[in-house]
Amino acid sequence: MGEAISRAGAATMEEHDDETPVVEFRDVSIRFEEKPVLHRISFAVERGQTLILLGPAGCGKSVLLKLANGLLMPDSGEIRIFGEEITTMRQDDLYALRAHIGMVFQESALFDSIDVEDNVAYRLHEERVPEDEAHNRVVEALKFVGLADAIKKFPPELSGGMRRRVSIARAIINNPDLILYDSPTGGLDPITSTTIIELVMKQRDVEHTTSIVVTHRLQDAFTLATHRYDAEKGMAPIAKDGPERGTDAGTKFMMLNEGGIVFHGTTEELVHSTDPWIKEFIS
């Protein structure tokens, strides 16, 4: 299967160029038991962009993320990932495509019965990567998230923040072209949240990976939009008097409410929005 993934994945990656949006939704709708969750959603995420998805609880943020990974299928509309239409794709091809997508789940979703090393190396083991190479890459990924010491621990032995960091390590182990973060700071204390946001930022600014970040914590969203990762200083604010005027140009916002998109634009546009609902939400 490893070979199949590599082959199918390579083919997928070769077919799209830098101009093709990494994620593209066209008129996507989905309902659960007659209750509409998303209605005619259309948007695109360009290569290297980070899209922060905001909205009240239950507005369909996590559903949108699962749709982007093919874990849910829409009732109507098209979803293109790396230019490939995934709603009509065969399951095997979809599994191959996912080799290029990392996902961090809301509650980490680590496999409880295997240790941290096997959790992080899960994808590598599936791809039959030699054991030594897999181990080295796991160590590297765990160093990236600052958890090299936890390699032999089991998920139940870890704190919520540590689990979330292991989940990030598992998502980035094979340098994906797209990362989907589903509330990576949900349920964590502010200090741990900042550590997680710094990791998201580090992945954005060091690896330039395209990502969609779902969050309901505005302070995390704005930290991500107004700071940049620096190898020496760590997380540092972007200069307000510089060319980017205090915000990261590649980081955009999208807000959902009642199944529809109520805002899609830059940090500046969001902050200066005159829409009363948006103003109230971000105040």
Binding site: M1, I5, K66, N69, L71, Q91, Y95, A96, R98, A99, I101, M103, F105, Q106, E107, A109, L110, F111, D112, Y122, R123, E126, R170
Partner: protein
């Protein structure tokens, strides 16, 4: 729980049968294509087969004992106490061995599968597996199916053997029968058709235990309460299925081999 209209209830039941059929069909098809998760198959064989040995040995042994004790009262009336061995072995091999083994393993493993997969489902581990490019049916269901069918066959043989041994112990030490006569009678009472019938049933029971256990596990929703519900449903449904299929297989075998 909200009351459903008969139409909605029927639709739900048909949808469940459809989901179960798709899951089962996919799990069987995955046996014949790569990748195959051999390590998971062996782990499940150990858990289902070796792990179930103590309860199967005890159940088989004491069922054989009580069968000998109960049957001797009836046989005495006809002056046929010497037929105890034959009665015990026929009952164990054709019926009690396969059915009791199926029911015991169902209680232990269908519940285990439903709760394990159910917990994985509600904590998004199944979604995580799919997101990591692994087909959960191939990785979780197929190994359990192969392991249960394979191991239940041998567990039934163990249950039969310990049942006959239990019957022998009671017959010799409590009823004062001759040991050699008992064992000879047990052997002589069995014909080819009986053994085939007794060893066909666990193949069906194993299939039911694994598919029903995994089905309820994979469709779990509603947090920890949902896991509990899935576990109960898995045991109840698989136990009933085992008994119903036992009747059907028995009827089919009588048709093939005669009584």
């Amino acid at each position: 729980m909200a009351l459903l209209s008969p139409e909605e209830y029927l639709k739900k039941q048909i949808a469940s049968v459809q989901e179960y059929s798709i899951l089962t069909g996919t799990a069987i098809a995955d046996i014949f294509t790569r990748p195959r998760y051999w390590a998971d198959i062996f782990t499940q064989m150990d858990s289902i087969g070796v792990g179930s040995m103590p309860i199967i040995v005890l159940t088989g042994f004491f069922t054989g004992c009580v069968l000998a004790l109960q049957s001797v009262t009836a046989l005495q009336e006809f002056g046929a106490v010497s037929m105890t061995g034959s009665l015990v072995s026929l009952s164990m091999v054709k019926e009690l061995g396969p059915v009791l083994t199926g029911l015991m393993v169902s209680g232990r493993n269908a519940a285990g599968m439903a709760s394990e997969l159910g917990s994985m489902k509600v904590t998004e581990q199944i979604d995580a597996m799919r997101a990591l490019g692994t087909d959960p049916v191939r990785k979780l269901v197929t190994p359990r199916l192969v392991a249960t069918v394979f191991m239940l066959f041998f567990l039934t043989i163990v249950a039969d053997a310990f049942g006959i041994a239990g019957g022998a112990l009671v017959a010799i030490y409590l009823l004062g029968l001759n040991g050699a006569t008992y064992l000879h009678d047990s052997y002589r009472g069995l014909v080819y058709g009986d053994v085939v019938q007794g060893l066909t049933k666990p193949l069906f029971s194993g299939f039911i235990i694994a598919t029903v256990g995994c089905y309820f596990g994979m469709k779990t929703s509603g947090g920890t309460q949902g896991v509990g519900r899935a576990t109960t449903q898995a045991v109840v449904v698989s136990s009933v299925f085992i008994i119903v299929v036992d009747l059907l297989v028995t009827r089919a075998m009588i048709g093939i081999f005669g009584s």
